[in-house]
Structures are given as C-alpha cells and as structure tokens.
C-alpha cells in the first residue's frame, strides 16, 4: 500500500468511526451518584408537640450567627388561636424568640388583644422554617445562580456570589428568606448543613425539649422519622404553588398558611 493511500484510508476510518463514537457517553460515577443520591434530607414537625417555648429559634440564631436582636430569623413559631365566635388570631412576636409567655395576641404597631380563655375554641403552635422544596422557586429566579440545591436536597446560598437583589426573597411563598443584617446577602435556613453532613442533628432539633422537630434521610426507609412521613397522614405548606416542600407536618390545620 502506498503511503498516500494509507493516509487517505486512515482519515476515512477515523472520521467514520468518530460519528458513532460521539454518541457514546462516558459515565462519571459522581454523576450517577448525584442522580440517585443515597441521602435526601427531610424535616418533620409535629404540631401537637410544640408548646411555643422558642428554644429552637434561640438555638438557631446562636448556631448560625444571626444577630440575636435582628428582626429576622431562619426559623420561627406561629401561634394560632380560634375563638368560639369563629374568629382567628395569629401572631409570632420576634418569631417567638423569647417564647410565648403572654396570653394576649400581638396585633402589630404596639396593639394587643386579650382573649378570654373561656372563649378559646382551639389554639396551637406551628414551627416554620425553609421547606427546602423539591422545585424551589428561589433557585429558579436567582439571576447569578448564587442560591442552589445540593444533591442531597438542601437549598443553600453562596454568600460570596449573591448580589443582594432580593428576587429569591420575593419568590419564596413561605417568607423563609431575608437579608442577613451583617453579610448583606440573602439568607435562610440551611438545615444546619454544617452539622448534618457530620452526622449531627440540626440546632433546632437538638434544642427542642418535646421532640416536635425531627430530621431524617427520606431515602432510608428504616429510619423512624422516614417511616412516619411514609406511613402517617402528613401535610405540607402551600401545596398549590407546586414547590413540593420537604418539610412535613403532623396535625397541620387547613387554616395554617
């Protein structure tokens, strides 16, 4: 074979072979793991157990360096009071940082409402935090991708890249986001990612004296908390937005929004 023919044929073979080869995808083990991660964090709140002590709010602020007196918080507790004459009152003074030690309802602007205990129909507390949605609107709208979802289902904010536009705060239907008063970037609950990735509990779960808050790996069906989420009647907040929240509630009243 002449050298010229050899070169011609080589080029033809390489070109011909490269077409079907380009269709092959090299498998990266990391990508496979990301598509089917072993861990997906979820949160369970038992509203029957919450007494509104506010220990969780305090623990969260301390753990995550949110200035104690700043009027923003990564987690908070709401109080719902229904009177027998069918009126609804809700409040969450300072996010329940100091707990509910008073029976009167905070109406804002320095006004309070005292409710006759005999007139109370039902009353309960609802702890809230970021729902770490399956389809989070906050990550969708972030113009720079500073807020993102990890492979194990936690929504985080990159403080070094956030431009502070507030679009994610507007997009969150749960009011879970705010501007950090010191860092001047969007902030929110991280499920204490620095703790859970080391096998520890979140600060709020750890601080709750009544076991109203639990965390679990929803992919591990042998975990007791996962079993509750799988087997019992649990609800999520604002399902109508299609965000598929990963914070589940036991005893969620329909009036809670």
């Amino acid at each position: 074979m002449k050298r010229r023919d050899f070169l011609k044929k080589t080029i033809m073979v390489v070109a011909g072979a490269s077409v079907p080869l380009s269709a092959l995808d090299l498998v990266d083990p990391k990508e496979v793991l990301a598509a089917n991660p072993d861990i997906h964090w979820a949160f369970l709140i038992d509203t029957h157990k919450c007494v509104g002590c506010g220990f969780c709010v305090k623990a969260c602020k301390t753990e995550n360096d949110i200035p104690f007196d700043a009027k923003v918080t990564r987690t908070w507790v709401e109080r719902y009071v229904y009177t027998k004459d069918d009126r609804r009152y809700v409040d969450s003074p300072d996010g329940a940082l100091y707990g509910y030690t008073e029976s009167r309802i905070d109406l804002g602007q320095g006004n309070f409402k005292e409710i006759d205990p005999a007139n109370v129909g039902k009353a309960f507390f609802v702890p809230k935090l970021c729902n770490h949605c399956e389809t989070p609107p906050c990550t969708q709208v972030c113009p720079v991708g500073a807020t993102y979802k990890t492979d194990d289902g936690v929504v985080l904010v990159d403080r070094s890249w956030c431009i502070g536009c507030g679009y994610c705060i507007m997009a969150c239907p749960y009011g879970a986001r705010f501007f950090h008063p010191v860092e001047k970037v969007a902030d929110k609950c991280t499920f204490c990612y620095h703790r859970i990735t080391k096998g520890l509990e979140t600060a709020c779960v750890n601080a709750c004296p009544f076991g109203a808050r639990e965390m679990c790996n929803i992919r591990d069906i042998n975990e007791p908390t996962t079993k509750i989420i799988m087997n019992q009647r649990v609800g999520v907040l604002k399902d109508e937005f299609g965000t598929r929240p990963q914070a589940f509630y036991i005893g969620l009243a329909q009036e809670v929004r």
Binding site: P67, D69, A70, K71, V72, T73, W76, E78, R88, Y89, V90, D91, S92, D94, G95, L107, G108, Q109, P137, T139, Q140, V141, C142, P143, V144, G145, A146, W161, C162, I163, G164, C165, G166, Y167, I169, M170, A171, C172, P173, Y174, G175, A176, R177, F178, F179, P181, V182, K184, V185, F241, R257
Partner: protein, 431 residues
C-alpha cells in the same frame, strides 16, 4: 455599641410598618428604586417606539420628534439599569449577572435583552448621525487655528465615523435603509425589553397581585404611553427654551442665519405635538383596557387571594389606585386630550399627568404587591424615607429616586453635543 446596633437594623425595617399578622422575615424589600426601574425602562422603550414611528412606518411629520426621541431614548438607556444597581445589597457584584447568567431567572435574561437593545439603539443612532460625524470631522480638519477643544472634537468625531468616510448619496441611502432595518428590529426588542420587566413581576408566583400573565403586556402598553408622554413633555420644554434663545438671539441664533426662527419653532412644535398626542391616546386606550380587564378578572374569578387583594385595592390603596392612578393619571388627561379645542399647553399638562399616572401604576404594582403578608392575614405599609440618615435611606429614599429621575436629562445635555437632536438635514433646509 452604636455600630453593633446599626448592624441589627435589617434591610427594609427602616421603612416598613407591620400590621396584624405578618411573617417575621417579611418587609417591603423592593422599595422606590424598584418602582423607578420599570418606570425608567418603560420610558426608554416608549421613546424608542415613538422614534420608530418615523423610521419604520415613515410618518414623515414626526421626523423631528423622532430624531429627538431617539437621542433621548439613548440618554435614558443607562438610567434603566441605575435603580437596579442602587437597590442591590452588593452593588459591586452587579456585573455577576452578565458573567454568570442563570438562564431560568427573568432578571438574568433581562440583562441580555437590555444589552441587545442598547446595541440596536447605538447602531441606529450611528446610521442616523454618520454623515454628520464625517462632515463635522472634515470641517474641523480643514479649520485653521484649532484650539484644544476643536482638536478633541475632531478626534472624537473621527473615531465616531468608525472609518466609514463615504458620504455620497448612495452611501447615505444605504445608511437610511440600514437605519430602517435596525428600527424595525428594535421595536420588538423594545417591547420584549419591557415585557421582560413585566415578566419579572408577573412570574413571581408567591405574590398574588403580581402573578398574572397579563403583566408583561400591561407593562409594554404603559411603557409606550409613558415614553411618548415624556418625549412630548420634554420636546415642548426644549422647544420653548429654543424659542426663548431665538428671540434673544442667544447661542447659535447669534451667528447662524439659517437657524430656525421662533415662529418656525412654534409651528413645528404645534404639529409634532398634535400628531404625537394622537398616538399617545391610542396606546393609553390599550393600557387602561388591559389594566381594568385584569382587575375585573380578579374580582370575577375570586380565587383564594381575592379577599386580601380586595382589601388592599378597594380600601387601603383606594386613593392611590382609583383617585391618583386611574382618575388623575388616566381619565383626566384622556378627557383633556379628547375634548375639542386641544392645544399644546393642554396636551403638555395632560402628558405630565399621564407620566404621573404611569408612575403611580408602577408604585401600586411594586409597593401594592408587598402591602399584604404572605400569611394573607396582615399588612405592611411603606414609608418612603425622605431625609436620608445613612446610605440605605438615601439610595432607597426620595433623593435616590430624584437622582435617577434627573440623570437622563443631564446625559441628554451632553449627548446632544455629539448627536444634535434638532439637527436639520441640508436637503430639508433647502426645501
């Protein structure tokens, strides 16, 4: 201690008053600068659409105001981004939007549309003024005893020609054709630009007032309305100033015998204002119809959020929406323009009211959309910071808004030295 206390004031706390049950993290986060943002963007888009009426649809009588509005649109352009930058908590990272755009975000897409639009306006402007750059550069080159300013101007205009020195009739015809093409591309891009501003709000599903697919269309229509109204208003003011200068023989009127007389200026003003205000009315009808349709639709369908929306729209913000926006900003100016005996003065006052109406529409959307809590059980009131006591209350207060509002006029003053908005073509002058 004081420093620590200052840190504790969270963003929005200085101007938000909460009533009843509002979630702890909720504040009026998008304040006056985010009202200014769609308002200024709308002015850019509207001014460009007005200029395109001549360049694309060949409405010959609008020739003068078209050139003026194109230059004015260019001076409004940088100001459209200004409120966003002033609003950012990390303004120096604003460029990140262009560096790492996240394409699922409407704001990131807006940056791209905005840049495209800026390129189109700049290109169109170049085609309109290329011959002027060449002649000015050649005149300055031929001039003897040049001072430092003339040398600088010669350099500037030479650079602006971008090496295209051919000003033959054929070349100029090509410029004209290219200009028409750019203007034609520019119209949908301008609408898209403002549609995107509307989309930024309309796509926020968490907000019951903003969440409507009509939002981008409503924004486009009111943008064109505001842009045309501002062009008429500013055109009248500039023409009045020119008339004053013509009468007193000031500036070019002292040395240039071909400069238009006060009577000519008055005549041109009358004609341009009359025709332009007709277009203004058409767009006003479209804008008001869509806004009212949105309101009726919400009231008719009465979904879950309607209870709180009704309280905000019909009670708490009634004066802002129905008296100031629809009454003073829409109905009154519309009547002023429709009733017989319309003259320039009446149209000018009507245009000022229209601008106020569009500003109120932006205010009612942006601030009104945050007036109620996500809990649907509480309200937030916005108190515009007037006297600034720190950078935040300056940026997001009255003076921040006034800075944004006055910047395009300052820019126009300087841009007019490079792109003379009232330049008369030599051919026209001979007729």
């Amino acid at each position: 201690m004081l420093e620590q206390a200052a840190h504790l004031v969270v963003h929005g706390e200085a101007w938000t008053v909460k009533e009843l049950f509002v979630l702890p993290n909720e504040y009026i986060y998008w304040s006056i600068q985010i009202v200014m943002y769609p308002f200024m963007t709308g002015l850019v888009a509207g001014a460009f659409v007005l200029s395109s009426l001549y360049h694309v649809f060949h409405v010959e009588k609008l020739k003068e105001i078209a050139k003026f509005s194109l230059v004015f649109s260019f001076s409004l352009l940088p100001v459209a981004m200004m409120p966003l930058l002033l609003h950012l908590q990390q303004p120096f990272r604003g460029i990140n939007v262009m560096m790492t755009p996240h394409f699922t975000s409407a704001i990131a897409a807006f940056g791209i549309v905005f840049t495209t639009y800026a390129c189109i306006v700049a290109t169109e402007l170049w085609f309109v003024y290329r011959a002027y750059f060449v002649t000015t550069a050649l005149e300055l080159k031929a001039k003897a005893n040049k001072g430092a300013i003339d040398t600088f101007r010669q350099l500037l205009f030479s650079v602006l020609t971008l090496g295209a020195w051919d000003i033959s009739k054929e070349a100029q015809q090509k410029d004209h054709k290219a200009c028409t093409k750019m203007a034609a591309i520019g119209i949908p891009v301008a609408c898209f630009l403002h549609g995107y501003a509307g989309f930024i709000f309309g796509s926020v599903k968490a907000n019951a007032l903003w969440m409507t697919p009509l939002m981008p269309v409503i924004f486009i229509c009111s943008a064109v309305v505001s842009g045309i109204a501002l062009c008429i208003l500013y055109y009248v003011v500039v023409q009045e100033a020119r008339k004053f200068m013509a009468r007193r023989k000031l500036a070019r009127w002292a040395k240039d015998p071909s400069a238009p007389t006060a009577e000519q200026l008055e005549g041109a003003k009358k004609e341009e204002v009359e025709i332009t205000s007709n277009y203004l009315m058409y767009f006003m009808i479209a804008a008001i119809t869509l806004e009212i349709l949105d309101l009726i639709f919400r009231g008719y369908t009465q979904v879950k959020s309607w209870d709180i929306l009704r309280e905000v729209i019909m009670e708490r913000d009634f004066i802002k929406i129905f008296v100031l926006q629809y009454g003073l900003g829409n109905a009154l100016p519309f009547l002023m323009m429709v009733l017989p005996g319309r003259n320039v003065r009446r149209t000018t006052i009507a245009c000022a009211l229209v601008l106020f109406g569009v500003f109120m529409m932006r205010w009612n959307v942006v601030i009104g959309g945050q007036a109620f809590s996500l809990s649907f059980a509480g309200f937030m009131h916005y108190h515009l910071p007037i006297i600034p006591h720190d950078m935040e209350t300056f940026k997001e207060g009255l003076f921040g808004a006034l800075t944004v509002m006055t910047t395009p006029f300052v820019l126009f003053y300087f841009l007019n030295m490079i792109f003379p908005a009232f330049m008369v073509d030599k051919e026209d002058a001979q007729h």
